[in-house]
């Protein structure tokens, strides 16, 4: 079944001529047609474009000039500006926006010959952990259609989980790649801040946002990260550092690898079943030769409050450009400038976005800046220092990605704080800028559980290595929901 092939298998199959890119692309387009009205994982499907790209890839392959991954279909989160294609960021505000240019990630994928199936659904402006806030409606978790897929990259997660695409791109500001990956049984990686260019990636929180791969396996994540990563002069925060081939170290021996287990991660709030699954996965890592050590991340509890001051503050400024003046949603018959702004933004933004803009504006305002924004940045440094200290004692930090498995629609979205707390394990790594990934570790109540691995700066190769070795001795990652098999 073509849709159960990993990127690596598809690459090899295409190389052997077992199938063409056109066939492959059509296969996934058919599946999207068949299943996505139920899942709602795509906002825009680019059938004609995709088939054209596939054709080009087939021709290139025929004359020997194709990139290794050319012709493989991919889904792109609708946060990446795609030239000539609607780029909505999950919002009514950009429902009419056809991007005039390509994000760096889009260009990189195009250069590698990857075929874009379409743009995936997401929480509006990347603000959310359940994909319930999208203007285009909620996305369903393929493992249980009454449950959320996680967010904000819920569309990408659901699409790959149901194998409507073999892989997808996502973005992660407080956990938006890792948490949906955990809830949907995928491998999702958030690289070190600065590893992947943010040019063309619609900004939520500029000092936290990072793009990354959402795939079936660690090997696939390595293949896709190879394409996405690299310096881009158009992004001043993009690091000028060589990109290693993330696949060459996948099989390194884990003997002696020190895995830090934060003592703060197994306390209150963590579902008991999830804890059990995680403990089991840690035993598997020990069998592979890893040594578990306890580490201390004392400021863990402060990371969620700090994030929910810093991210909204930056977002409140980043979203000021959406004012109805030059592009995007504009209210009908604005009376004057103030009316234009108020109604375009009031009508164009959903409630979670408006909530965060207000929080952020407040945190930056005169008289409150020191107590909130400045203070949160100081706490951020403390959170980061915790990790620096911990990495003196270990190589990789492990724990649960999410405190629970996928929850039901409407369960958390009436209580924003409850929703925010579901990011407790992922948020600190964004504050610190460290790379982290979530990999399938088992199931609880028939729903996927994700194991999170956090690495030191620029150690994506090591994370992928640990994940890959783990995936060689476990089979969680190859499972897919039976109705999408």
């Amino acid at each position: 079944m073509l849709h159960t092939y990993t990127l690596a298998a598809l690459r090899d199959g295409l190389a052997r001529g077992d199938f063409s890119s056109r066939e492959l692309t059509q296969h996934f387009l058919n599946r999207i047609q068949q299943y996505d009205s139920e899942l709602n994982s795509f906002i825009t499907v680019c059938a004609d474009n995709a088939l054209a790209q596939a054709q080009i890839a087939d021709l290139a392959r025929a004359n020997g000039s194709a990139h290794a991954l050319a012709g493989i279909p991919l889904a792109q989160k609708d946060i990446f500006c795609t030239q000539g294609v609607k780029t909505s960021c999950g919002s009514k505000m950009l429902d009419n926006f056809i991007s005039p240019y390509n994000a760096h990630v889009i260009s990189q994928c195009e250069s590698a010959g990857l075929v874009m199936l379409g743009k995936t659904n997401m929480d509006e402006f990347a603000m959310g952990s359940s994909n319930e806030s999208s203007f285009y409606g909620a996305v369903k978790n393929p493992w249980d259609l009454t449950k959320v897929p996680g967010g904000s990259s819920g569309g990408s997660a659901a699409a790959v989980a149901a194998r409507l695409a073999p892989a997808a791109t996502g973005t992660d500001t407080g956990g938006s790649i890792r948490q949906p990956a955990a809830l949907c049984n995928l491998t999702g990686l958030k690289p070190t801040y600065g590893r992947v260019s943010r040019w063309g990636m619609i900004a939520y929180a500029s000092s936290l946002d990072q793009a990354g791969p959402m795939t079936q396996t660690a090997e696939d994540a390595a293949l896709l990260l190879n394409v996405m990563a690299g310096h881009d002069a158009k992004d001043s925060t993009s690091i000028d550092k060589d990109v290693p081939d993330y696949t060459v170290t996948l099989n390194n021996d884990l003997k002696g690898l020190r895995i830090g287990i934060p003592k703060q991660y197994f306390g209150e709030g963590l579902d008991a079943d999830v804890a059990t699954v995680i403990q089991q996965s840690l035993k598997e890592l020990e069998k592979l030769g890893a040594i578990l050590v306890e580490v201390d991340l004392p400021n863990t509890g402060l990371s969620v409050p700090a994030y929910y001051v810093i991210a909204p503050a930056e977002a409140s400024s980043n979203l000021s450009r959406f004012d109805g003046a030059r592009f995007g949603y504009r209210c009908d018959n604005p009376k004057d400038l103030t009316d234009l702004y108020k109604r375009s933004r009031g009508e164009g933004f959903g409630s979670e976005v408006k909530r965060r803009i207000m929080i952020g504006t407040y945190a930056l305002s005169a008289g409150y800046y020191d107590a909130y924004y400045l203070q949160a940045q100081k706490v951020r440094r403390l959170v980061q220092q915790d990790f620096v200290k911990a990495f003196e004692q270990c190589d990789v930090i492990a724990g649960p990605t999410s405190p629970s498995v996928a929850f039901g629609f409407g369960e958390k979205n009436t209580d924003p704080v409850a929703m925010y707390l579901s990011d407790i394990y992922t948020i600190a790594t964004n504050l610190a800028g460290l790379p982290a990934m979530s990999i399938p570790a088992g199931f609880s109540k028939n729903l996927p559980v994700g194991l999170q691995l956090v690495g030191n700066y620029w150690q994506e190769a090591q994370l992928l290595n640990v994940a890959h070795r783990y995936q060689q001795v476990t089979a969680w990652h190859s499972q897919l929901p039976f109705q999408f098999a």
Partner: protein
């Protein structure tokens, strides 16, 4: 009631980099609207700023020009507010850590006095676009060509005490930025804009009065008039027992009055925070030294040199260095005039500038080159012509045919009469025609010598060589 005027100026200087401060768009003035605004300038979703290093270099040059501290690390900050000509909804500026710190600028008040004006700081920021409210049937047109142009905002200490001092400061800034080559300082085009903060306090008090800010005054003349109008208004208010309310005002040139802007200036909370899309600007000692090494000679140093090397007075030197082009013209003239600096100064400051002013021409459009002028001075000094003929030659040069002094003298038959016999002949004619004066002179009225000189010059149509005339006349009159 004795009032003291306190004035501080905020000058926004457009830096003449080739491209904008955070994007690659051109900065040319006067292009068709919205033809020089890229994705970045338009604030499209997903775009990111990239710093133009030349803007940083120019800011450092300015800092060196005012002896200021140069920040080894400065930070860009977002200044948040909503307006259609500000596409992102925030302006990228600098807040807590500007690139240039405390400095100073000396201004010339008159031939005797200079004054040191403190500079608080100077920082880099991007310009907004332009809003045009006139030609759009009740709507406003937004031209984003200017959005993203690099600005250097220069903030002075409130050290000025009169409109004249403010104008002198503005002129000194104008001169300096042109010397440094960082801006053309064209106030009419908006590449230099002045906001004037004016307040009054009773003489002898330390506490500052409430200030009002006169925004966007676009000529030196208007700076003076606007400030004086504001001073008059504030004085009237205060003496009538009312208080001055802090506000922003505009100067109405037609009515010669300042008026608080009609839209109530809500105290905007700009919610400054460091821009997370840009890295801190790191400036090393090496960078500063490299830039310093490439600086042109600045006005203060040039003025000192003119005084020392050319023996010019402080005032004359000050006038000549005020504009870089003028200083260069003057020095070229001195060179062409074989080092006769004082003469060169007189001719440049007197005849040349006078003529240019009258014709409403700029020095750059001068019909007379420094070489021509120097050549003319040489001909005076080697006695080829006298001062009066020189002025004639000068007038002909003004016509702009690019002719040397020699060519003009030849062409117009202005060659002096140097033939001793000819001069003697004229002298004899004059003596013959002036018996009374002769008798008086020989009788002791020495002053009449001048009369005889004048008559000889007249009869020779000014062409007689003055030195020879003197010598021969003395002999002839002695009898």
């Amino acid at each position: 009631m004795s009032w003291e005027v306190v004035i501080g100026l905020e000058v926004h200087v457009q830096l003449n980099t080739h491209s904008k401060i955070f994007s690659g768009s051109a900065t040319t003035f006067g292009s068709e609207p919205n033809t020089q605004a890229s994705l970045i300038d338009l604030g499209m979703p997903g775009v990111l700023p990239v710093l133009n290093k030349e803007a940083v270099n120019m800011a450092i040059r300015f800092g060196l020009g005012v002896d200021a501290d140069i920040g080894s690390m400065s930070i860009f900050a977002r200044k948040n507010y909503f307006y259609p000509d500000l596409p992102k909804g925030y302006q990228i500026s600098q807040f807590e850590l500007p690139i240039v710190g405390k400095g100073h600028l000396d201004i010339i008040l008159d031939s005797e006095t200079t004054k040191r004006v403190g500079i608080t700081r100077a920082h880099l920021e991007e310009d907004a676009g332009k809003s045009l409210h006139e030609d759009f049937a009740g709507m406003s047109g937004i031209d984003l060509n200017r959005a993203g142009t690099p600005l250097l905002e220069i903030v002075s200490e409130p050290d000025m005490r009169s409109a004249k001092e403010a104008v002198a400061y503005a002129k000194a800034i104008h001169s300096l930025i042109r010397y440094l080559g960082i801006s053309d300082g064209n106030m009419a085009e908006g590449s230099m804009r002045c906001d004037c903060n004016v307040s009054l306090r009773k003489k002898g008090t330390e506490k500052f009065g409430t200030r009002r800010e006169i925004k966007n005054v676009n000529s030196f003349k208007f700076i003076e008039k606007a400030i004086n109008a504001e001073i008059a208004w504030q004085m009237d208010e205060l003496e009538s027992g009312r208080e001055v309310i802090q506000s922003t005002v505009l100067y109405d040139a037609n009515k010669n009055e300042t008026r608080a802007m009609r839209s109530k200036e809500e105290a905007n909370d700009y919610r400054y925070f460091p821009d997370p899309d840009l890295l801190p600007v790191i400036v090393t000692e090496t960078m500063i030294n490299d830039i310093r090494a490439l600086l042109p000679e600045l006005p203060v140093a040039k003025k000192d040199r003119f005084m020392a090397d050319f023996g010019l007075s402080a005032y004359d030197a000050g006038v000549l260095v005020a504009e870089r082009e003028l200083a260069e013209y003057f020095e070229a003239t001195v060179k062409a005039a074989n080092g006769q600096a004082k003469q060169a100064a007189n001719w440049v400051m007197g005849e040349l500038l006078g003529a240019l002013n009258k014709a409403e021409k700029e020095l750059t459009d001068s019909p007379i080159s420094a070489e021509q002028l120097g050549g003319l001075i040489n001909r005076i000094n080697d006695n080829t012509i006298n001062g009066k003929i020189a002025k004639q030659v000068f007038s002909i040069m003004l016509e702009g045919h690019n002719e040397t002094a020699d060519a003009i003298i030849e062409k117009h038959g202005l060659k002096p009469v140097t033939d001793t016999g000819a001069i003697e002949g004229i002298i004899n004619e004059v003596i013959a025609a002036s018996p009374q004066q002769l008798a008086d002179y020989r009788g002791g009225k020495d002053k009449l010598f001048g009369y005889f000189v004048g008559e000889v010059m007249k009869r020779s149509k000014g062409k007689a060589n003055p030195a020879q005339v003197n010598e021969l006349l003395k002999k002839a009159l002695a009898g």
